[in-house]
Subunit: 343 residues, 2 copies
């Protein structure tokens, strides 16, 4: 995603108006669930897109929904398929992701964001509503889940999950952006306070349970993970979220490492692209465009000790298979501990 | 100090041409050692000026050389006495430090830097040669040292100290600036490598001895301390020196805390002014001018355990008295552990 504005002296606000069509089993919006029809367009750098990469992998939807991958940097206009041969997405045949937006809404004026799901036959974006996309991958695409796919959004837990996910969204996922794009010292100071209040709560909350909702991984963990994994590499310095590094919060750091070494999480993370995106794209924050060489990331593979909290990470399911060779992050070409081995 | 340039794509270079007159016992340059005649002008924010504040305090020269204090921020033109009543230095009667430079060299075109020693009767800068100033406070001003002043620059050690101080200067004191003001990714990457190579060497070097030159505090420790104390608050994030925080290097971190709680070191440090200076003045690095709220500094007062290495911190001397009330950093108005109590 890159879809925001800040006015001088003001608090950062995220533009939350999206193309909200849904791909559903009944096709009520005109886009029925159908394998081999849609393409999920992401950028590994983007935390909101990272969610969808993880959920697609955990649910084993690789065979049903293909993956298009934008590069880590983009200009004012659009994310681009600059990593692909000829700088064109091989399926959609476009360079600018914006082209798929224009096919849906000619002259589309809002942010060209990832994740976006594109209807391949028409080449038009169906939805870029990131919060709904992962929930629909869980709920609407059930018939195409792999055997042993976990239930990331269990009916029985939804009421309890809602406020947790809401708090993670406003205070953490978006909270780091509120710090980084604050338009005044006052707005920043108050954003900083909100962010670390939420992180202190999570540090406490996760001290007695292995995952956010208890003993099993859910959508809520996916949403928290994508911010935590970016915390020390970018948010701590670039967004001035610097009361402390993640590694200074022992519970959250162990929780993040536990997920990182869980198949489907760490193997989707490309630290190089993450750093490149934030430090090169936000020239208003980092005019030089120079990407820091740190931090040392070796600690991510240290034992986390969270097994002692017990839990059934996959509930009644099983871990996902390694990523497809074409979707393997180069940094993870050698297996991570905990069986996170690419094919 | 603020005296530097960087060309696009190039390595940062410090302009090292100074007004190099010396105040000496024999008055060979025209400025003889004489109490109550000179004013040392500093800014607490500046690491090069911080050296002189520490050495003046350790040697007990407060009664012989008065202290003028510029505020943490300045514009393109000059440091200013904006903290003083009427924004004028009460002794020199000037607002811009530049005025004292112009009295010495009309139309002076180089950087208006701190530390600078001003001859009060003429109001003209005698020297801003920071490296020589502290050595002369030790060597030339001996007759005015307090009883029990340590020998920070012992004759017998000078040959051994020279390469250590040189390496600390080029690789560490200036090394962090080389990272922060690098004009290209290549220049930054190489600066980062040099900096952390030196810090790794120091981590090793200080693991078996309490101070850089052995069992007693010397000028070399003063020079290293002023960079270390700024590392996590500014250099780590603002200058992208982010392989790790200082607190992640156990030996250096304990060494820095040991000095911080030694009278004459921590009590000269004003973290608020330090952060304000770097984040507000370098708008080319931090266009918003927003000053980070972090890091949490509570750790500076944790026990450091370095006493177990033994040592005679003051040699044959004694610790300095608390700072003068007028020179007390507000943050240290309550005593630090280890007896670092202001009057």
């Amino acid at each position: 995603m890159e879809n925001s504005y800040v006015l001088p002296g003001q608090e950062y606000s995220r533009d939350t108006s999206y193309i909200e069509s849904r791909i559903t089993r009944d096709g009520g919006d005109g886009w029925p669930v159908e394998p081999d029809r849609y393409r999920l367009v992401v950028a590994r750098a983007c935390p909101w897109a990272n969610r969808t990469i993880i959920v697609r992998r955990l649910l084993g939807l690789e065979g049903a929904i293909s993956l298009g991958m934008c590069g880590p940097t983009h200009d004012m206009r659009s994310w681009t398929f600059d990593l692909d041969e000829g700088e064109q997405d091989p399926v959609l045949g476009i360079h600018w992701l914006a082209e798929a937006y224009y096919r849906r809404v000619p002259g589309y004026l809002k942010g060209i964001t990832v994740p976006a799901i594109v209807d391949v036959p028409t080449g038009a974006v169906v939805t870029n509503d990131f919060a709904q996309i992962t929930l629909d991958l869980s709920g609407e695409w059930k018939d195409f889940h792999r055997d042993g796919a976990p239930d990331l959004y269990p009916e029985a837990l939804r009421e309890e999950m809602e406020p947790v996910m809401q708090r993670i969204y406003t205070e953490v996922n978006n909270g780091v952006y509120r710090c980084g794009f604050a338009g005044s010292q006052e707005a920043y100071d108050s954003a900083f306070e909100r962010l670390f209040t939420a992180l202190d709560w999570l540090e406490e909350h996760l001290s007695t349970r292995r995952y956010l909702m208890g003993e099993t991984i859910t959508e809520a963990d996916v949403r928290l993970f994508t911010t935590l994994v970016r915390f020390d590499p970018v948010y701590h310095g670039h967004f001035k979220c610097n009361r402390n590094k993640l590694i200074e919060m022992p519970v959250l750091w162990a929780y993040a490492r536990d997920l990182f070494t869980t198949p489907g999480f760490g193997d989707t993370v490309d630290f190089e692209q993450i750093k490149s995106h934030y430090y090169e794209v936000h020239t208003d924050v980092n005019p030089s465009g120079i990407v820091p060489a740190g931090p040392d990331l070796a600690g991510w593979l240290e034992p986390h000790g969270r097994e002692s909290l017990g839990g059934r990470p996959w509930g009644d399911g099983t871990p996902p298979a390694p990523p497809l060779p074409a979707e393997t992050v180069p940094q993870h070409a050698t297996p991570l501990p905990g069986g996170v081995a690419p094919a």
